[in-house]
């Protein structure tokens, strides 16, 4: 393992994982000196009965915990008005803590609410930027219901201001939830076409954390474990959705990948993925599945040796040992492409393999070819571009997106390579 010359790493989230870990919520709240939580979630989560599970777990306990109010109307594109509304409700009902249940949107929203209610402020915008939050916030418990974003482990909240057409990022260690509850029951009902891309998002977090510039030893280990858990469980879960052990494993993979990328950042897969989300409203995980092999491919001359090491968790030790070092980087990429193929098959074609294949519910193509330039322009201004091993200018971005659109590998001759730093020679 390389000794990183300098790194910072922080995972100040207490994690409780198991098939019955919801039952730990009351004690966790007591430990945080809280007894009047508010639940923040979205309609999708409450409709499938997951909030009921949380309520039951709290009712069962002898601790005097009372859920003061449930807000289950967080929209998919939550913004500052929702945050303000919920904060008002929190204060009116005399809450002292938040339990947020859901995917990325309820979690980001809850983090925003927690800033307002803890700082007793009206204007969220005064807390943007590093170091703006200067005190511990009120207790926050996060319960993920998709295994992908890893938001339960991250210190970021992205909150939009639709009126100004802006997205603001809030970063502070105080935004890390106090407790993350990983319970297999919370993802059991997630349909396959959502399980697949969200897990691929987690896989992307792990692979990018391991190969990008801000890698560090603890992120590396977390990433390797995450990949192994996904390898052992993703396809099984797609085939047997009620496999509780598999679900729990994926929830852990997502959290581990969250730990990894929150401390080492992500690279160009997210750079382009965010842009595709912004321009064409493609779900994040869908873009990640498709782009992951392209990101690894583009950076091969810089970090091929690291991509090669990913083969161990991706393929298992026997296959890894059987493949010579110089072939491993490409093999890793091939396995990820194959995984996308397998998921495509297992979901009856609902898991997309390339950008031109992505369709919305009505069946219309979501990424028309003429949007590629717009996507590339937007991508240029995504913060994750800083952490990618190789530079990407507009021309490079367009070249990569075009390849991913067609579903063909990158033409390596077209990559403007800076000095090679990969420790294995890549055999093409």
């Amino acid at each position: 393992m390389d000794t990183q010359k300098y790194y910072e790493f922080c995972t100040r989230v207490k994690t409780i994982s198991g098939h019955n870990s919801l039952e730990e919520i009351p004690q966790a709240l007591m430990d945080l000196n809280a007894k009047s939580p508010m639940i923040i979630t979205d309609k999708g989560v409450s409709a499938v009965g997951l909030i009921q599970l949380v309520q039951d777990a709290i009712k069962k306990s002898k601790n005097k915990i009372e859920i003061k109010v449930i807000f289950d109307d967080v929209p998919a594109d939550s913004d500052i008005t929702t945050v303000n509304e919920i904060a008002k409700l929190y204060k009116e009902k005399g809450c002292d803590s938040i339990i947020t249940v859901g995917g990325g949107s309820p979690m980001d929203t809850a983090k925003g609410v927690n800033i307002l209610v803890s700082e007793d402020a009206d204007d969220l915008m005064q807390f943007t930027g590093a170091g703006a939050i200067k005190r511990r916030l009120n207790p926050l418990i996060a319960i993920p219901t998709t295994s992908g974003t890893g938001s339960e482990m991250t210190l970021v909240a992205v909150i939009a201001d639709h009126s100004k057409n802006k997205k603001m990022a809030f970063t502070s260690y105080f935004l890390l939830p106090d407790v993350a509850i990983l319970d297999s029951r919370m993802t059991l009902t997630l349909p396959d076409f959502l399980t697949a891309p969200t897990a691929m998002d987690a896989l992307t977090h792990a692979c990018e954390a391991y190969t990008c510039l801000a890698k560090n030893p603890l992120s590396d280990s977390a990433a390797l474990f995450a990949i192994e858990l996904i390898r052992d469980n993703l396809l099984n879960v797609i085939k047997k959705p009620k496999d509780a052990n598999g679900r729990l494993a994926l929830a852990n993979a997502s959290a581990l990948a969250g730990i990894a990328f929150s401390n080492s950042m992500v690279g160009m897969v997210h750079t382009i993925g965010h842009a595709i989300g912004g321009v064409c409203h493609v779900p994040h995980g869908v873009a990640m599945s498709i782009l992951l092999p392209y990101g690894l491919e583009y950076n091969l001359h810089k970090t091929g040796h690291l991509t090669g090491e990913l083969l161990l968790p991706l393929a298992g030790s026997e296959k890894f040992a059987a493949i010579p070092k110089e072939l491993r980087p490409l093999k890793s990429i091939e396995i990820i492409r194959q995984l996308n193929e397998d998921l495509h098959k297992a979901t009856g074609g609902r898991h997309s393999r390339f950008l031109s294949e992505v369709r919305n519910r009505e069946g219309t193509q979501m990424i028309p070819k003429d949007k590629i330039r717009d996507i590339a322009l937007t991508a240029q201004n995504d913060g994750s571009i800083f952490y990618n091993p190789e530079e990407l200018d507009l021309e490079d971005l367009i070249m990569v997106i075009e390849a991913a659109w067609e579903g063909v590998p990158i033409d390596r001759k077209k990559i403007k390579m800076s000095k090679e730093t990969s420790k294995v020679k890549i055999k093409i």
């Binding site: 930027g129 590093a130 802006k166 510039l213 801000a214 240029q380 091993p389 200018d393 800076s418």
Partner: protein, 181 residues
């Protein structure tokens, strides 16, 4: 225990590094203004920034640093070394003098500096990315290739930046950076 035996201690100062950084940042600030008027790409990046854009790039906690913003004509303008009384839209602060010294003596490239968590960025991330690219280009103009190669990820080849553009541009930016017109 006698409390007087354990006095308060006020840590010292390191004037040499601070002066180096002050000069380096002064030149860089000026050079951004100059480059925004000379270099096509930088000019374009600046055009894309909002009208109220104002950058502070400096060292925590007490500087040095510089402010570059847009003037009333929408042109890039060096606005001095002090934060006070300016409404900054993008703050890029290096965590301490030693870290700044590592980055601005190119022992750590800007990219590695980011990877090493040396910077605290607040404000619009869009703007930070544009400024990141502007800084890369400014460094290419200001510094000899051998040093700039340490600072940026990929040094442009002639296809991307013609030698004429670079050398003529460099002279203009140098003079403008120092003379400040």
């Amino acid at each position: 225990m006698r409390i007087e035996n354990y006095p308060e201690i006020i840590p010292g100062k390191n004037p040499f590094k601070k002066i180096y950084l002050a000069i380096f940042l002064w030149i860089t600030g000026r050079a951004i203004q100059a480059a925004a008027r000379t270099d096509r790409v930088v000019k374009k990046e600046f055009e894309m920034l909002p009208d109220d854009f104002m950058l502070y790039l400096g060292v925590s906690p007490n500087g040095p640093g510089f402010v570059v913003g847009k003037d009333s004509n929408g042109k890039a303008k060096y606005m001095g070394a002090k934060l006070k009384g300016k409404s900054i839209t993008l703050k890029m602060i290096i965590k301490n003098i030693e870290a700044a010294f590592l980055v601005f003596t190119f022992q750590e490239s800007t990219a590695v500096g980011f990877a090493h968590d040396r910077f605290m960025v607040s404000g619009n991330l869009d703007e930070a990315c544009r400024i990141g690219r502007v800084l890369d280009i400014v460094e290419i103009y200001l510094l000899p290739k051998i040093i700039t190669k340490l600072a940026v990820k990929r040094y442009p080849n002639w296809k991307q930046m013609s030698p004429i553009r670079k050398h003529v541009g460099r002279v203009i930016i140098y003079t403008r950076a120092i003379l400040g017109f």
